[in-house]
């Protein structure tokens, strides 16, 4: 029998992490890239969960491991990358137990049936994710015919229907069009339509608005939000832009160097951020209240080399609240500061006094 969460729940004890609405629960995920130069711990013990109808935003700078996290979930990590630890629990059907996706062969048929069917991806750059020599229709039809045993005609009907759903003007004609003949916004709509082809239970959007201009960005975001709430979809939304998170997410996970440094409901994160990194990120967003012609605060320093991670808290070399002798010695752990809000920082840790 596949390991299900019932067993796991006993082990986790007090942390009543999972409820009946939970679609995905990631626990202690670690993904590494073993290279000649060393091992890069791209994802280093990440845990979070997504409930039905919930949008979880994962935020962090480029290279913090957001994309690797979702690739790990989908089982499309390519060599030399490898998941070394952790569990990825996913509920395949409502009212069924959660199953560990890691127990499937990532290239095997079972996992392939989940990808694209139950978990769908909206990629970062629609232009690059679409083949330039195949028509839009061809790629949409392929998405559903991989999972449903239906005729090409029927598949085309579904494709047109989905394109209409995502607000594509004259969808029938767009079927025979190539990706490079569409505008950036329309291309992203195609990708959303493609993700919806099989009515997935979990939608993963990997920075879907970075490659398009601001006005179109707003349209795509509201479209996603609409679709998500209409169908009560579970969604993971990855971005480096806290402003975008504020618009779409219910729950926020902040990542730094492969670790979750803070997570909590979107209001808590924005109104009472606990981690200095989250605070710094928030401070660097221009608001309507920011005085004109004043330099925005930035985070000093740069991301450390992936093979050369700092000891202790990964953020300490750039941290404004750095405590010498603690932050550079001991890695902090995630600590709850309210029922749903936890922070990985010694500023919020009772352990601090003990170790000093």
């Amino acid at each position: 029998m596949r390991p299900t969460l019932t067993i796991e729940r006993c082990q986790l004890g007090s942390e009543s992490f999972v409820n009946n609405e939970t679609i995905l629960s990631v626990k202690g995920l670690k993904t590494e890239f073993v290279l000649d130069e060393g091992t890069a711990k791209a994802v280093d013990g990440v845990s979070f969960k997504v409930d039905r109808g919930q949008v979880v935003g994962i935020v962090g700078e480029s290279g913090c491991g957001k994309s690797v996290t979702i690739k790990s979930i989908m089982g499309i990590i390519q060599k030399p990358g490898k998941i070394v630890e952790g569990r990825i629990f996913f509920r395949l059907k409502q009212n069924e137990e959660l199953v560990d996706l890691r127990s499937y062969d990532s290239r095997g048929e079972e996992m392939r049936n989940i990808r694209g069917n139950d978990i769908a991806l909206i990629p970062q750059e629609p232009m690059a994710a679409l083949s330039p020599v195949h028509t839009i229709g061809n790629q949409l039809v392929e998405a559903i015919r991989l999972h449903r045993n239906i005729s090409k005609k029927e598949a085309e009907k579904v494709a047109v229907e989905r394109m209409r759903q995502v607000g594509m003007p004259s969808p029938e004609e767009r079927m025979s069009v190539y990706s490079w003949q569409l505008s950036g916004g329309l291309r992203q709509r195609v990708m959303i339509a493609m993700a919806l082809m099989c009515n997935p239970r979990l939608l993963i959007a990997d920075e879907p608005t970075t490659a398009i201009d601001v006005t179109t960005q707003a349209q795509v975001l509201s479209l996603l939000r609409e679709l998500q709430s209409a169908q009560e979809l579970a969604m993971i939304f990855i971005t480096h832009d806290l402003g975008v998170v504020a618009q779409i997410a219910d729950y926020v996970v902040v990542m730094y160097l492969g670790k979750v440094v803070e997570k909590g409901p979107v209001d808590d994160i924005f109104h009472s951020p606990g981690h200095p990194y989250t605070k710094a990120l928030l401070a660097s967003i221009p608001t309507i209240h920011t005085p004109a012609r004043e330099e925005l605060p930035t985070i000093g320093g740069s991301l450390p080399h992936p093979f050369n991670r700092p000891m202790g808290c990964p953020f300490h070399p750039r941290c404004a609240a750095f405590i010498p002798g603690t932050c550079d010695k001991i890695p902090p752990t995630l600590t709850k500061i309210s029922s749903q809000h936890s922070v990985s920082c010694f500023l919020h840790s009772e352990n601090l006094v003990d170790t000093q």
């Binding site: 130069e37 060393g38 091992t39 711990k41 093979f307 050369n308």
Partner: protein, 374 residues
């Protein structure tokens, strides 16, 4: 709790070094990582040394013929005879009275002692002075007959020495032809890429036209039109020019493509702002930046030229005897009869293959080093 397997200190130093290193140093570091190309570089250097001093490595005057020494098979060198030794067995040739061909048997009774750095025939060192020192020589040159490491040809000439002398011609013709086509290619490609517009259009159409022509018939027709009365040197120059005439187009295209990118770079704009003339910008600022790419492209063009010269000479339309090139030597092996009688006549082909492989691997390595994001 560092996760790195490498010492982090070292990594930091490395990063700093990388940041300040000039471009050629970066290229060199990347090149050194490409092991195979690095070793091929040594082979190429060895071939160049042979091309410079063929006389030192050869055992006999390449033009010296012996009527009673034709078609002798290659002789081996032995280094063990109940203890370290250095000798070859003598070969006895008899003329078959019915076929009138020379037939050879190895005489294991007679040993021909050899030595390193011995004296032999006189050769010219780079045309400056004469020497009679050879890498491999007979211990008793007055008594023993010369040995033939790669056998002899129809006229009894020593093939080993001829292959070595052929290196000089084949390699230099490749180098010279590539040099010529590089000059044309960089000049026209640079002009085309920098000026753009009508100039670019005309040059590009010309290149397209030239590239759509199959080169071999043109080479043949051009080489056939060379007067038979021309001297070896005249023929050499003419063949080089003919080879270069068509191959410059590839280089010109490559240079132009790079120029189009470079033209937008800040340092070119800066040079323009500070009032440099166009020619100065092209040839002082842009060409040097391209040098690593050009070196790689040139290295890859040389083997092509060497093979083309071999083709032409093999067909009897390139260099003509008494000139010695690998193609001229291979002409001796042109038909089944000669190959069946003396298969070692194909050995100059091995020289071609080894040289071309070494140059190709070296060129690939250089290209990867010059353009890691290719």
């Amino acid at each position: 709790m560092s996760t790195a397997t490498t010492d982090p200190e070292e990594l930091v130093d490395f990063d700093d070094a990388v940041l300040v290193a000039p471009n050629w140093k970066l290229v060199w570091w990347r090149f050194k990582k490409h092991r195979l190309a690095f070793y091929s570089g040594f082979i190429v250097i060895l071939i160049v040394i042979i091309a410079a001093f063929p006389g030192f490595f050869s055992t006999q005057d390449p033009y010296e013929s012996a009527t009673r020494g034709s078609f002798m098979p290659p002789q081996g060198i032995h280094i063990w005879d109940k203890g370290p030794a250095f000798y070859a067995y003598a070969a006895i040739g008899k003329r078959n009275q019915t076929t009138l061909k020379m037939e050879w048997v190895v005489d294991e009774e007679t040993k021909v002692p050899l030595r390193l750095f011995g004296r032999g025939y006189e050769w010219e060192v780079l045309g400056l002075f004469k020497s009679n020192i050879h890498l491999l020589a007979l211990r008793n040159p007055d008594v023993d007959k010369p040995i033939h490491l790669l056998g002899t040809d129809r006229l009894g000439r020593d093939q080993w020495s001829r292959v070595l002398y052929g290196t000089q011609v084949s390699l230099s013709i490749g180098l010279l032809a590539v040099f010529l086509s590089t000059v044309i290619g960089i000049f026209l490609g640079g002009i085309s890429g920098y000026f753009g517009g009508l100039t670019d259009m005309i040059i590009q159409r010309m290149i397209e036209l030239l590239q759509s022509i199959p080169p071999i018939p043109i080479w043949l027709a051009l080489s056939a039109s060379l007067p038979r009365t021309w001297s070896v040197t005249q023929g050499y120059i003419a063949i080089t020019a003919i080879l270069a005439l068509i191959t410059w187009t590839g280089l010109a295209r490559e240079v132009r493509g790079r120029f189009l990118v470079l033209r937008e770079e800040d340092f070119v704009v800066a040079a323009k702002m500070s009032g440099c003339s166009r020619m100065r910008i092209v040839f002082r600022h842009m060409v040097p930046t391209l040098s690593s790419h050009i070196i790689a492209a040139v290295t890859l063009a040389i083997p092509v030229m060497i093979i083309n010269e071999t083709f032409l000479s093999f067909l009897g339309l390139g260099l003509r005897p008494p000139a010695i090139s690998w193609g001229v030597l291979l002409q001796e092996a042109q038909n089944l009869q000669s190959v069946a009688l003396a298969p070692w006549l194909m050995l100059p082909g091995v020289a071609v293959i080894v040289t071309v492989i070494a140059l190709n691997i070296l060129g690939d390595g250089l290209r990867d080093a010059a353009d890691p994001y290719h």
